[in-house]
């Protein structure tokens, strides 16, 4: 049995002294495709930020690939795809330059790119289907294409474990389908994927396990839910009655949610 890439026991996160996540027990086995679902403010993004070390844990023990977080240094095994920020940086950067920065996890200081590095960068750009746009400025791409650039950047370091924070937010439906194809390719390579989503849309068939969060706690952990269940329209054993309505995870119809 290979060691689990992510293991968190009794994790809690406090922001400004106020507890935001409580009592999180989570183990992600190698090769799993896990979706973290929940309404806005439920703590799903905070959980991913805690698992990547961007938010310190107030309590609990986090191990990544069997190493306690404090001693963890194998960052090349992790690929992080943050939420696409609206504001581009102040200086133009090409697709290839942004993807190249993902290779830093495997590069030594003051060394130029080697042949292996270049190949990994080319492969990453090709996998997300942006080879013909590699020289273009990132700011000239559409939202979905920019999201694929961020996936390629994570991919360039050849990681085993991916964290994706709301990759489909603000991306139109055809582009969501392209994203889903990209993630399927990653899954087929045996990558472990932890995905935060407000709505799954075309990603739904890929998900092997769903975790639903509400008010900083895990309220459901198990087999993927049908969209109706996540919507809370049907009574479900795992979701108590009071978890529906306002607080229920909202998965809008992809057709309504996709337009920009």
């Amino acid at each position: 049995m290979p060691v689990a890439p992510v293991h968190l026991r009794d994790g809690a996160v406090a922001i400004g002294g106020r507890p935001v996540l409580r009592g999180i027990d989570l183990t992600v086995p190698a090769g799993e495709f896990l979706a973290l679902l929940g309404p806005n403010g439920s703590g799903k993004s905070t959980l991913v930020r805690a698992l990547t070390g961007l938010r310190p844990l107030a309590r609990g023990e986090l191990t990544l690939f069997g190493t306690p977080f404090e001693r963890f240094g194998e960052w090349h095994r992790i690929g992080f795809v943050p939420q696409r920020s609206g504001a581009a940086s102040g200086v133009p950067a090409s697709v290839r330059e942004v993807v190249t920065s993902g290779r830093l996890t495997r590069r030594r200081l003051l060394r130029p790119l080697g042949a292996t590095d270049r190949r990994a960068i080319d492969d990453a750009i090709e996998l997300v289907g942006l080879t013909d746009r590699a020289r273009d400025g990132v700011s000239t791409l559409s939202g979905g294409q920019q999201q694929r650039v961020l996936i390629a950047r994570a991919l360039a370091g050849d990681p085993e474990l991916f964290f994706l924070d709301e990759p489909t937010a603000g991306v139109d439906l055809p582009q969501q389908q392209v994203l889903a194809d990209t993630l399927r390719a990653l899954k087929d390579r045996g990558s472990t994927i932890v995905l935060v989503a407000h709505e799954l849309g075309p990603l739904a068939p890929l998900v092997e396990r769903s975790i639903v969060m509400r008010d900083g706690r895990i309220v459901y952990d198990g087999a993927p839910l049908a969209e109706d269940d996540v919507l809370g329209q049907h009574h479900h054993d795992h979701l108590a009655a009071d978890q529906r309505g306002d607080h229920a995870p909202l998965v809008r119809s992809p057709l309504e949610g996709g337009g920009r």
């Binding site: 961007l54 943050p82 200086v91 133009p92 090409s94 330059e97 920065s101 400025g137």
Partner: protein, 333 residues
């Protein structure tokens, strides 16, 4: 008066060397400041350095070195406030602007020094630079250039997306402080060339000019350094020749020459961006089959209408319509 005669003056040789190195170093670090949207950080550090210069004038130590020390402290303070404070970076910068400038003027007065001496540092006095100062300028500028180019992959990643950089295992805080310190060093390097009040212009304007035409970070960095060099050496030369007819200070000449470069390139950049927007491919699906009314004009590659790729065909855009060829007629897309 010709160029070789001008070059034969030792003070001019020193000034040109200082201008060359300053012109390369200031835009190099400026590119990272602009990338972080901290274009005014150089200004803030420059104002803090005024206090450093004043301390040097009053105590009799070298104003260059007291300015370096105070500017580095100020820059690190700005970085700490920015990281910890959760307040807007611009408020932190504003506090240091006014504190630094007021402190400098006050200390100069208290020490019984004349304002004229401080003014050398406020607006530059490149032609009075000493041989020792030229060497210090060259060494510090070379250091800034080496770090900015050598650590470019790391500095780029940290400025582009600090959170991604952290998860990639980079020591983001170390790099942030490094950029702040390099900015402070560049400010003191450029202090003698263009003066503390104009130093930020040499860090920012060449970057603003080069990104009008560049699409990549590397091209922006390299061309900003070339433009900065051109502006500082060119501005110094212009002011040297013009000095025979009128009082022309080198510092403002350098800055205005740099700005002139921006004024010339901006319309070109604006036109290129406008054109790129017009020709961006349409992604949406055609709704239904909407045939145009009788269309007297034949669209083609040479017809002069804006041709925009749309899936597997080309839309011709004119008068608020998108016309796609479909057999013998045109569809409205």
């Amino acid at each position: 008066m010709n160029a070789s005669e001008l070059l034969s003056y030792p003070f001019m040789q020193r000034a040109l060397l200082a201008a060359l190195f300053t012109g390369l170093a200031a835009p190099a670090i400026g590119t990272y400041l602009v990338q972080r949207r901290l274009a005014l950080m150089g200004d803030g550090i420059g104002h803090v350095a005024v206090t450093g210069v004043a301390l040097g004038l009053v105590t009799g130590w070298s104003p260059t070195w007291t300015a370096v020390v105070v500017a580095v402290l100020g820059a690190v303070l700005i970085e700490v406030i920015r990281e910890r404070g959760h307040t807007n970076g611009d408020v932190a910068l504003a506090l240091l602007f006014y504190g630094g400038l007021a402190g400098g003027v006050l200390v100069t007065g208290l020490g019984g020094q004349s304002a004229a001496q401080l003014q050398q540092y406020l607006f530059g006095s490149i032609t009075t630079i000493s041989a020792g100062d030229v060497i210090v300028t060259m060494v510090l500028a070379a250091l800034v250039i080496l770090v900015c180019v050598g650590l470019a992959p790391q500095l780029f990643a940290v400025a582009q997306d600090p959170e991604f950089a952290r998860v990639a295992g980079l020591k983001v805080r170390v790099y942030n402080v490094l950029v702040a310190v390099l900015a402070a060093v560049s400010v003191t390097v450029a202090m003698r060339t263009v003066g503390l009040l104009l130093v930020s212009a040499l860090m920012v304007v060449p970057v603003a000019t080069s990104q009008q035409l560049s699409r990549t970070f590397r091209a922006t960095l390299v061309s900003a350094m070339a433009l900065g060099c051109l502006a500082s050496v060119g501005g110094l030369t212009i002011s040297a020749f013009a000095s025979y007819h009128a009082t022309v200070a080198p510092g403002p000449t350098i800055v205005l020459l740099s700005l002139a470069g921006f004024v010339v390139t901006w319309p070109i950049g604006a036109w290129l961006r406008h054109r790129a927007r017009l020709h961006a491919p349409f992604a949406d699906e055609p709704v239904g089959h909407d045939v145009t009314d009788t269309h007297p004009h034949d669209h083609g590659p040479a017809c002069g209408h804006v041709a925009v790729p749309h899936d597997d065909h080309v839309d011709y855009v004119h008068d608020g319509h998108r016309h796609a060829p479909h057999g013998a007629h045109y569809d409205e897309h």
